[in-house]
């Protein structure tokens, strides 16, 4: 009904911001590399200094790509959960996925003394934490999927997800209580989240999960719009509620589960970005919201990663803390300034 020009302009601006944030992210870090050299490495792969080339190709680009995939994936899964549960406080971890992942990682890191050799050998493999995190998320996902088949009320799934989160946290607390300090510290570092530890191979695996999750979200756009009217109206418009609910849960699990497995439980992005985007992009059509949220998540994560790296310094701050420190005040400011309804 409305002119599509504002939508196109909004998306173009977000795309340009994503590109700018990407270049900024690659250009800044603990080692000072001139911007022209960064461009040379990116477009001709031949730098004056081979160390710079190594840093950019093997560290900064995978880290920036991980930021883009993690930020956009978490933001999209947050949007899916907010629309499905019709709850502005829902996020990618509302189904208990991060708690499941945390439990898996905690069992491997802190349960080593309980399980001995098996856990120890898994831990020493490079994919150990990824596997543990994925298995934890998968188990929670299967439980939530089973519940969703039996339950008619979508809100009940939300509560079941929260209960799984509480259960997992309780087990993690018990493990942490009995765990030696060194292993507890390892777990705490994992829980801070990190986008800088992925190899190109791991990045490849993550991107397969990301593409699958985004593709399902893309095919759910029409149903997501119907859900803006509530489930009963959506059903009267020809939507199969159970089928659609399963698709949204699978999409969220593919995105949030894989990102948590590779980059840890990154907080806030999934909850905040959909709200930020709703404040700056006109309309409620998920055709516009989905790409806008992808760009918004990528921008926020790239910027947070720049801050976390403390350019020029050797220290790196936890990405989890930075996403909340930057994101929360921005969301509060936008909501207060615009005075718009969230849902």
């Amino acid at each position: 009904m409305q002119n599509s020009r504002p939508y196109i302009i909004s998306l173009l601006v977000l795309l340009l911001c994503t590109v700018a944030a990407w270049f900024l992210n690659i250009s800044l870090g603990s080692v000072n590399i001139p911007f022209m050299e960064v461009l040379t490495v990116l477009f001709s792969s031949e730098a004056e200094n081979s160390n710079w080339q190594y840093i950019i190709m093997e560290y900064r680009i995978p880290k920036a790509l991980t930021s883009v995939l993690a930020g956009s994936g978490l933001a999209v899964s947050g949007m899916l959960m907010q629309t499905m549960f019709r709850n502005p406080l829902a996020g990618p971890y509302v189904l208990g996925l991060s708690s499941g992942a945390s439990l898996g990682v905690a069992l491997v890191l802190m349960g080593a003394s309980l399980f001995g050799g098996l856990a120890g050998s898994v831990l020493f493999s490079s994919w150990g934490l990824v596997l543990a995190s994925s298995l934890g998320s998968l188990l929670v996902l299967l439980a939530v999927m089973l519940a969703s088949v039996r339950l008619k009320d979508t809100m009940a799934i939300l509560i079941i997800g929260l209960m799984f989160a509480s259960l997992s946290s309780a087990v993690v607390s018990v493990l942490a209580y009995f765990s030696p300090a060194a292993q507890l510290q390892q777990y705490v570092f994992w829980s801070y989240g990190s986008v800088g530890d992925l190899s190109w191979t791991e990045l490849g695996v993550l991107s397969i999960f990301w593409t699958s999750g985004i593709a399902i979200a893309l095919f759910s756009i029409k149903n997501l719009n119907s859900l803006l009217l509530g489930e009963q109206y959506a059903r009267s418009l020809g939507m199969n509620i159970g089928h659609n609910r399963a698709l949204l849960i699978i999409s969220t699990s593919l995105l949030a589960g894989s990102i948590t497995a590779f980059a840890g439980p990154i907080a806030f992005v999934g909850l905040a970005v959909p709200h930020l985007i709703r404040q700056v992009v006109p309309g409620n059509d998920h055709k516009i919201l989905l790409p806008a949220v992808i760009f918004g998540g990528a921008i926020l994560m790239l910027l947070c990663d720049i801050v976390a790296q403390l350019p020029g310094s050797e220290h790196t701050l936890p990405i989890n803390a930075i996403t909340s420190l930057i994101g929360a005040p921005v969301v509060i400011w936008l909501l207060v300034r615009k005075r718009k309804f969230i849902f």
Partner: protein, 238 residues
Amino acid sequence: MVASGIDIDVAEGELTAVIGINGVGKSTFLRTISGIQPALLGKILINTEAREDIRPQQLARLISLVLTEQPLSKNLSVAELVALGRQPYTNWIGTLSAEDRKMVKKALALVNIEDLHNKKCYELSDGQLQKVLIARALAQDTKMMILDEPTSHLDMYHKAQVLKLLKQLSQQTGKAIIFATHEINLALQLCDKIILMKPSQVIQDVPKQLIQKGHFESIFPSDLIVFDPVTETFRIKT
């Protein structure tokens, strides 16, 4: 308390009210016809085809719905909300065609709310929102429109306004409009037919016949209110 043995038929261009005491099953009956909940018993035929055999997407082109609860996103604009009525006709991503846009404009015009099209739902009064939801159902372009208590939350003036609008729409568009209501006085004046749901029986007839046969006398327990066939209204028993 719940009505059973329901056997009714509705025709195009007719406005039909469903009347009965709380808990008799008016909403359940309408939700079952509309396909948002399964039938407890029996069979519903739509154009001689069993409702269970009709695919949800096809059913959405036959029956549109306006519900009592409105858990919809209040951040939607009127134009966006009414356009969602076109979902059964749009492509996989929900893009509106020229025909869809025309139908949305027509629906806004029929309900006389063109001037509201840029307003957000949270800016509307209850009466305006009810009209918007009716426009959304009209945009769905179905032969039958079902409304579950469309006048609840409205004052007397707006109750009359909404029911008058339904009467006009049934005449102008030729749709079969069926709605549950507690506004018996208004329904008696405006409806072509009334479905009277009592636990013991379900009767469908024109208002005059129902009054003459004395069916309204037994619709509620008689200890508090009585139906006066002369004034065609209920009054407190003295």
